[in-house]
């Protein structure tokens, strides 16, 4: 049980600053997901919390205690690695019990804790196997087991599911989330997969180029993205962003005129989520459909606006629209329109 506080954490490699000051207070028992594209510094941030990278500037507190200079083992954390990092020559039981063995626990106690964790993760049958003889999902569970047996105050996950196939990923995602809420252990979870982030997080940190673009609950980020980056990164297919200008009569996009919910003036960036678009013969938006992707539950229509800007709409159900069939008119509710400053990319209103 612990809180984790990051206070303006920075990381420099030589003169390049890769983390440009991240602050967040993780509550006790909270599941925080750090999400961002590759190279945004999310793994580095996690590794700084783990103690595998030094912190160039700022303060890290675990349970209120300054942890900048503590060794990983003294931070009371456990980490699950992307490639699992199981010790290949040890059996599953030995892998899970290794940390306890180093801590000097008596053998019967180690065995009991390993057995308990194995029961929790359905690994009991596999305790004598070597990592080589396990499937990807099983290895993943062993890595989880190794983290659990030590009863740490903080779990750190570094893209733990990215080596699994899609179906297994969904299953393990649920298992991890379930386990975490059952054990109630504070967790930091790094991923590049926004679906993982949306489904697992109590709160998420959207990172881009070493900066935390937005910190909030998944739905907060989805409904009120603070920056253009967060708006486009979260949501699938990603948000349409088009140049617009606030003038008399509403928001002008080329020939089209949309309602102006905030009454903003001048050039802005307008964000419209594909799934919020509704077909309407009278609608203000007109797109040329070039390609339809039927997904079953919904259909993705890719095309462009009169101005040539690419545009995507996601309509529920099956629409047998042939590509090049012509114009499609759409409308959108004013509350689903997102406006961003055209220079800073910050949210307006």
């Amino acid at each position: 049980m612990a809180t984790v506080d990051l206070d303006n954490i920075k990381k420099r490699f030589g003169t390049t600053e890769v983390i440009k000051g991240v602050s967040v207070n993780v509550q006790d028992g909270e599941f925080v997901v750090i999400v961002g594209p590759s190279g945004c510094g999310k793994s580095t941030l996690l590794r700084m919390v783990a103690g595998l990278e030094t912190i160039s500037e700022g303060e890290l507190r675990i349970n209120g205690r300054r942890a900048n200079d503590l060794e990983p083992m003294d931070r009371d954390i456990a980490m699950v690695f992307q490639n699992y990092a199981l010790y290949p020559h040890m059996s599953v039981a030995q892998n899970m019990g290794y940390g306890l063995k180093i801590a000097g626990l008596p053998k019967p106690e180690i065995a009991a804790k390993v057995a308990e964790a194995a029961r929790l993760l359905q690994l009991t049958e596999l305790l004598d196997r070597k990592p080589k003889q396990l499937s990807g999902g099983q290895r993943q569970r062993v890595a989880m087991g190794r983290a659990i047996v030590r009863e740490p105050s903080v779990f750190l996950f570094d893209e733990p599911l990215s080596n699994l196939d899609a179906k297994l990923r969904v299953q393990m995602r649920l298992e991890i989330k379930e386990l975490q809420s059952k054990l109630g252990i504070t967790s930091l979870y790094v991923t590049h997969d926004q679906v993982e982030a949306m489904t697992m997080a109590d709160r998420m940190i959207v990172m881009n180029a070493g900066v935390a673009e937005q910190i909030g609950t998944p739905l907060d980020v989805y409904e009120r993205p603070e920056t253009l980056f967060a708006a486009q990164f979260i949501g699938s297919p990603s948000m349409n962003v088009i140049k617009a200008e606030g003038r008399e009569g509403g928001l002008h996009v080329g020939e089209m005129v949309l309602p102006n919910p905030t009454g903003v003036e001048g050039p802005v960036m307008l964000g419209l989520r594909p799934e919020h678009l509704v077909p309407d013969p009278e609608g203000p938006i007109e797109m040329q459909v070039l390609l339809a992707e039927p997904l079953g539950a919904n259909t993705l229509l890719h095309g462009k606006l009169a101005s040539g800007t690419g545009f995507t709409a996601s309509l529920p159900g099956v629409h047998r629209v042939m590509a090049g069939e012509g114009a499609l008119r759409l409308t959108i509710e004013a509350r689903n329109m997102h406006l961003f400053d055209s220079e800073t990319g910050r949210r307006l209103g």
């Binding site: 783990a50 990092a85 020559h89």
Partner: protein, 285 residues
């Protein structure tokens, strides 16, 4: 039963016979001198000297080998075998320990001059024993280590090859493993002992075989620093048995000694063959 196909091309008929014939001929050519040595070690001195040399073993096996083992020409062969064994095992084990530790230092620690040290080690690859033999002799003599096991072993114990090999192997081990161990609370030496060492065991076995034979076959160095016959190693001992001047060579005993000198390396290779091949072929990760 299904016919076994062992190669890319299935060989049958004449091709099969021809290749086997060639193989057998090759083996015979290589094996023949060893066979002759064995034959010579089982007959009497006059039988060897008399022109057509016998091609089949005689009846003096026990006598000749007993003579070699327990009295020899200068020293009993048993003593020389023991000396060789101590030297070969000392060199192999010492080399493995030192190169494991130096590779560990070079790969896992960042210290000033790390690269310089690595390249210094690497440079010594270019300096075989023979090149540095005079200064090495001087040093060993200065330390008073002539005619001693430490004198036989220490100068040969540093190994750039083995260090390099372990370095390459350690580099293939994912960094996460070291990090996982760190998170688990393992200090560096604990990590070395619990994780690296067991993971390197096939490499260690392969190296042991190579280094044991390297140590066993040392000739020049023992010849230089052992003047006391009781410190002779067997490989140089064989040469020492050759007569000088008008002495008569006791060929059966010399040949028995040669055969005996071959036995330990063969035993080591055969008993560690499985590990040896695994060490060379697969990289366990």
């Amino acid at each position: 039963m299904a016919r076994e196909i062992t190669g890319m091309v299935e060989r049958r008929g004449m091709g099969l016979w021809l290749t086997h014939l060639l193989m057998i001929a090759g083996v015979l050519v290589i094996f023949f001198p060893i066979w002759l040595a064995f034959v010579a070690s089982t007959v009497t001195q006059p039988e060897i000297v008399k022109p057509p040399m016998p091609l089949w073993p005689g009846d003096r096996f026990v006598e000749n080998y007993t003579a070699a083992l327990f009295s020899g020409v200068n020293v009993p062969v048993l003593t020389m075998l023991a000396n060789s064994m101590v030297m070969a095992i000392g060199i192999a084990v010492g080399k493995i320990i030192i190169s494991l530790l130096s590779a560990f230092a070079i790969v896992y620690f960042r210290f000033p001059g790390r690269n310089i040290f690595f390249w210094l080690i690497f440079l010594t690859l270019m300096l075989p024993v023979e090149v540095r033999i005079v200064p090495t002799y001087q040093v060993i003599a200065g330390f008073g280590m002539l005619n001693s096991y430490s004198g036989l072993i220490f100068p040969l114990i540093a190994s750039a090859t083995a260090t390099f090999l372990f370095r390459q192997f350690f580099l293939t081990i994912p960094d996460e493993l070291a990090e996982a161990a760190r998170v688990d609370g393992a200090r560096p030496m604990r990590f070395f002992w619990d994780i690296l060492l067991p993971m390197s065991r096939t490499n260690i076995a392969a190296l042991f075989v190579i280094l044991f034979i390297y140590g066993w076959n040392q000739y020049l160095w023992p010849l230089l620093i052992t003047t006391d016959p009781s410190m002779n190693t067997i490989v140089m001992g064989i040469k020492q048995m050759f007569p000088s001047g008008d002495d008569v060579a006791d060929w059966p005993v010399i040949m028995a000694t040669s055969i005996l000198a071959m036995v330990p390396p063969v035993v080591v290779v055969i008993s560690m063959q499985k590990l040896f091949i695994r060490g060379l072929v697969d990289s366990e990760k």
